[in-house]
Symmetry: C2
Subunit: 242 residues, 2 copies
């Protein structure tokens, strides 16, 4: 079973104060880039994997989706999601993405934001999603970038020449990484970008777009702290076709 | 026009002494991983882009290819290639991959080893290759990995904790990189992995496999210096379908 950090008090408290928790999609700097990859959702049956507070699920319904099923491991998250989007077309269910089952060919669009890097068996999950989507569907998701996750010391350093550097090592060494982020000992699973893409291809998806997210000049002007994303990407956005 | 470093005396001299120049494919540690992605070449008409000494072209003919056309910018390379593979099925021609033209739908397989990262306009080249291949063809190539190419100081460092690190910066800053490798001021073009894949997809290719090459335990046991490839990949191998 996946580690449930979200229901730990210290994590939930910290998480609930993140800009993306307070402001929803508008608080996530990568959202415009994700949005550019989304198909028209009108009339679609959407599944949102690791839905959190349901910000995306709500957005999908506001943009014409026929229904949304949001899965999350955290009861606290789901409680907030149900409160925020109390509509009959929104169905929020507890589930561990490591063992998730989906009804066959039941959805037209699958979405996930920053959840899959907590999953040890991404192959199983990719096959489950593929089987749960109807032919012709799209799948868009974000994960922590493997460049961000790989290092033994994942934090900025300044080298002897005074340059801010990201100390990359063990990029090819896949598997568990533990970090302290909002809570101690958060477990994530490092896979190279190639491995993630190959798992999708083996599951039957066609890769449509790979965006190693970095901010535009305008975004950096508005939020100067984002400039470091140009030195090493924190997230990757992948769009695939079923 | 692409920079022709190969015909500079100092570069050619250094290049001709590399293990992959002396021993051919067997001298390239990534060759077993490339070979695993190759289709059966029997009867195929092959194009080899940046063919160098023609090691791959010769291998393709030895493995049943009907013909090979090898393109390279360097007269010196081509002279050696013609000498090494003096067969009527092997046709070695001078060409700049920046301005290459191929006859439409004339090849069944395209190959390139460590050449495309010298090309400024990869979009033009990808469209040229797509048009030159027949439907159902495969395309396998290697490039320098963008993690390897990106940094302002692309060399190992040891951090304060004594860890060997690859000082990544400016990963998202695409464009020219100049390094001194065999000769001074070698010009390369940095693109993120996502950009390379998106260019292929836009040109009409279907991504089949992305391998960020790293050595196996056996390969490291035989050649301990390869262990550093696990910390940061130097090459990426991409297989695509037309």
């Amino acid at each position: 079973m996946a580690q449930n950090i979200y229901d730990r008090a210290e994590f939930f408290e910290g998480y609930s104060q993140l800009p993306r928790s307070v402001h929803g999609l508008a608080g996530a700097p990568e959202w415009p880039a994700i949005r550019a990859l989304l198909p028209d959702l009108a009339g679609r049956q959407v599944v949102d994997l690791g839905c959190g507070y349901g910000w995306f699920s709500r957005w999908a319904l506001e943009h014409g989706a026929a229904s949304v099923v949001g899965f999350d491991l955290s009861e606290k998250m789901l409680a907030r999601a149900r409160e925020m989007t109390a509509r009959p077309e929104a169905d929020y269910r507890i589930a561990d993405l490591e063992t998730l089952e989906l009804p066959a060919a039941s959805f037209d669009f699958a979405y996930s934001s920053l959840a899959f890097h907590y999953i040890a068996d991404f192959g199983r999950l990719a096959r489950t999603i593929h089987a749960g989507l109807r032919p012709g569907s799209q799948f868009v998701f974000t994960i922590e970038h493997p460049i961000y996750m790989a290092p033994s010391q994942p934090g900025w350093q300044t080298d002897a020449a005074g340059t801010r550097i990201w100390p990359l090592d063990q990029y090819a060494v896949e598997g568990e990484r533990r970090t302290d982020w909002l809570a101690k000992g958060v477990v994530k699973y490092h896979r190279t970008l190639g491995t993630t893409l190959n798992i999708l291809i083996e599951a039957g998806f066609r890769i449509a777009r790979v965006v190693e997210w970095s901010p535009s000049d305008e975004e950096v002007a508005l939020q100067p702290a984002l400039a470091e994303e140009r030195d090493r990407p924190m997230m990757v956005i992948i769009a695939a076709g079923r």
